[in-house]
Symmetry: C2
Subunit: 331 residues, 2 copies
C-alpha cells in the first residue's frame, strides 16, 4: 500500500509538474506578482456578456495556452480534472465542453487546485495516465453575486472579508519530465468549529488547514522549505500560526498564504486578502512554480483550503465546513 501514516498517499514513481499557465484579472495584475503571471486581462468581462462566461473563458484559455506552449495535442491528454466555485461548477463544465477532453469535475471550493493535483498524481502514479491537465478558476464578480450580495448594491465590505481572485491556473502533470515532482498527497477531513460568517472565511478554513497540515507533516516527516496555504488571508494565517505555536511546533518562519502573497494587502484595499479557486491556482502556477524551477526552494508543501459553505445552508443556520488538501512537491 502506497500509504504512509494515517492519511497520506505516497507517490512512488515519477509524477512531474511539467508546466503551468496562469491568467489573471486587472487587480491581480497590479499586485506584487504582476511579473510572474503568464497573461493579464484588464477587462472584467473579457469581451463576454456576463462574468460567468468570462470566467469560463479564463479557464478554457488557460488550458489552451498551456497546451499550445507545450505543443500538446488533445490526444496527448488522458484526462482533464477541473473545478470552480460556481454552482454546478459551470465554468469547468462549459470549458470542458469546448476543450473536448475526457473530464472529471470536482468540487472543493477554494481547495480545488490541490484536490485536482492530488487526484491527478494518484491516477498517473497508478499507471493509468501519462498526462493530466488540472485547472481551476474564480472571478470576483461571479463569486460575489453568488455567495454574498450583488455588486450593484454597492454594499460595504467587512474588514474580515476576502477578495475573490479573478483568474485561472492550469497545471500539466506528467509521468515524464525532469522538473519538480509530486511526492505526497493528503486529502483532508472536514473541520468545522462553528463559524457562520461568510465574511470571515479565513477563520472558518484555518482549523481545517491546521488539521491537514499537521497530519501531512506527521505522516511524511518531510522538512519543507516552504509551506503555503491557499487562501486563508491575514486572519486565517494568523490562526494557523497560533494553532501550531500552541502545539509548540511553530511553522511561522517557513509558512505563507497565497491570499496574502497575491495582493498588496494595504495598498490594494483587499481587507483580509485573496481567496477563491483561482487564488492558489494562479499563485502556484506562477510565483511558486518559478521558485521551484529556479531552485530557490526545493521542498514545497502546497495546501489549498476551502470553505464548503452554500448560501442555502447559511440561510438555514448552518456553519461553514472547512477542508484542506495537501500536495508535497520536491525539486
Amino acid at each position: 500500500m502506497k500509504k504512509i501514516g494515517k492519511q497520506t498517499f505516497s507517490i512512488k514513481d515519477n509524477v512531474f509538474v511539467r508546466d503551468t499557465y496562469t491568467i489573471v484579472g486587472k487587480k491581480e495584475g497590479e499586485g506584487p506578482l504582476k511579473d510572474n503571471f503568464h497573461m493579464i486581462v484588464d477587462d472584467d468581462l473579457w469581451g463576454e456578456d456576463s462574468w460567468e462566461k468570462c470566467e469560463l473563458k479564463f479557464q478554457k484559455s488557460a488550458v489552451e495556452k498551456l497546451m499550445e506552449a507545450n505543443n500538446l495535442q488533445k490526444s496527448d491528454i488522458d484526462l482533464l480534472i477541473a473545478g470552480d466555485l460556481l454552482n454546478q461548477i459551470t465554468s469547468s463544465s462549459f470549458a470542458a465542453r469546448d476543450l473536448m477532453l475526457p473530464y472529471v469535475g470536482v468540487y472543493g471550493a477554494c481547495s480545488t487546485m490541490a484536490l485536482t493535483m492530488g487526484l491527478a498524481s494518484l491516477i498517473i502514479d497508478g499507471g493509468f495516465a501519462e498526462n493530466i491537465i488540472c485547472v481551476t478558476s474564480s472571478h470576483f464578480c461571479s463569486a460575489e453575486r453568488q455567495y454574498r450580495l450583488p455588486l450593484e448594491m454597492g454594499g460595504q465590505r467587512h474588514m474580515s472579508a476576502q477578495w475573490t481572485v479573478t483568474g485561472s491556473g492550469a497545471v500539466w502533470l506528467s509521468k515524464n519530465g525532469n522538473g519538480p515532482r509530486v511526492r505526497n498527497v493528503t486529502f483532508g477531513k472536514i473541520t468545522d468549529l462553528g463559524v457562520k460568517d461568510a465574511n470571515n472565511m479565513g477563520a472558518a478554513m484555518a482549523p481545517a488547514a491546521y488539521d491537514t497540515l499537521s497530519q501531512h507533516l506527521e505522516d511524511t516527516g518531510v522538512d519543507y522549505d516552504l509551506i503555503v496555504t491557499g487562501d486563508l488571508g491575514t486572519i486565517g494565517k494568523g490562526i494557523v500560526n497560533k494553532m501550531f505555536n500552541d502545539d509548540k511546533k511553530s511553522i511561522e518562519k517557513k509558512y505563507d498564504d497565497c491570499g496574502t502573497i497575491i495582493y498588496d494587502i494595504e495598498k490594494q484595499d483587499v481587507h483580509s486578502g485573496g481567496s477563491g479557486c483561482g487564488c492558489s491556482a494562479t499563485v502556484f502556477g506562477s510565483f511558486l512554480f518559478k521558485k521551484l524551477m529556479n531552485k530557490e526552494i526545493n521542498k514545497l508543501l502546497f495546501t489549498s483550503t476551502g470553505a464548503l459553505h452554500s448560501p442555502t445552508a447559511t440561510l438555514q443556520g448552518e456553519s461553514i465546513p472547512g477542508i484542506a488538501h495537501s500536495v508535497g512537491i520536491e525539486m
Copy 2:
C-alpha cells in the same frame, strides 16, 4: 499504461464491489424495486426542518448503515468520495463533516455515482487505498426548488420532465473480497447538441451516453449481459437506442435505464422517468448489485449520465452540457 483504446482505464488488480446500502423515499418505496432497497423513509423531511437537511441525512445514514452492516470502523476507510446535485454539493460536504473521513468531493450532476466508483477503482488499483466508500444522493424537493420552480407554486410538470429520485446509495469498494469486480472505467467527454430545455434532460444527456458507451464498447470489446444508463428516462433511452440502431450496432436487447427501472412510469405519474444522483446510485446499490451477486448477470456496464446545467447558465441562454461515465463490472 493501464489504458486500453482511446479513453478507457483498465483495472488490473482486484477492485471488488463489496457491499452497498440504499435508502429511498416513499415514492421510490412504492415502485417496482420496493423489495430491493435496504431502507424506505416515508417522510420527505425525515424529522429534519428542511429538504436539504433531510437529503444530507439520507447520505450520511447510507454510509453509516453500510459501515455498520459490515462492521467497518472509520480507520478502515481510506477515503470517502461523494457528490450530489445541490449547489456546493452541500449534502456531501455536510455528511462528510459528520462522518469524519478523508473526503474528496466531486460534481458530475446525475453522472456522479459512476464518477465516484471510477475514481475509487483507479485509486485502489493504483495501490493507494484498501477501502473506499462512494456515495451520492438526491431529493425531489430540494432539486426542484434549486433547478426549476418552488414546489409551493404547484406548477404543471412537462410530459418530458423527469422525477428526481429521493434517495441515497453508498457503495463500498475494496481490494479484498470475492464478489463482482470493477474491470474497466471510462470517463466521458462533454457532449452538447444544443438542448436548452431543463424539462427535457433525457434528450440533453442521451448523446453523451451514446458517446461514452460506444467508446467504452470499442475500447474494451466486452460483450456485456446488461448495459444500464443512469437516468435518461423514456425519451433519452429511446434516443440512445436510435443512435446505436442508426450505427447498425443495436444494444436494444440488453439495454435498460435506471430512470425507467425505478418507477412504474405509467402508474406512478413520473412522466419520462426517474433522474438525479440518487437514481443510478439506488438502482445500482439494490437491484443491479443483487443481479450480480445472484449471478443473474455476469457482466454489467454501469453508466451514469449527467446534465451539467445550471439555472444561471440557462438564464444566460446556454444549452445543457451532458456527460456520462462508464464502469464495467464483472462477476
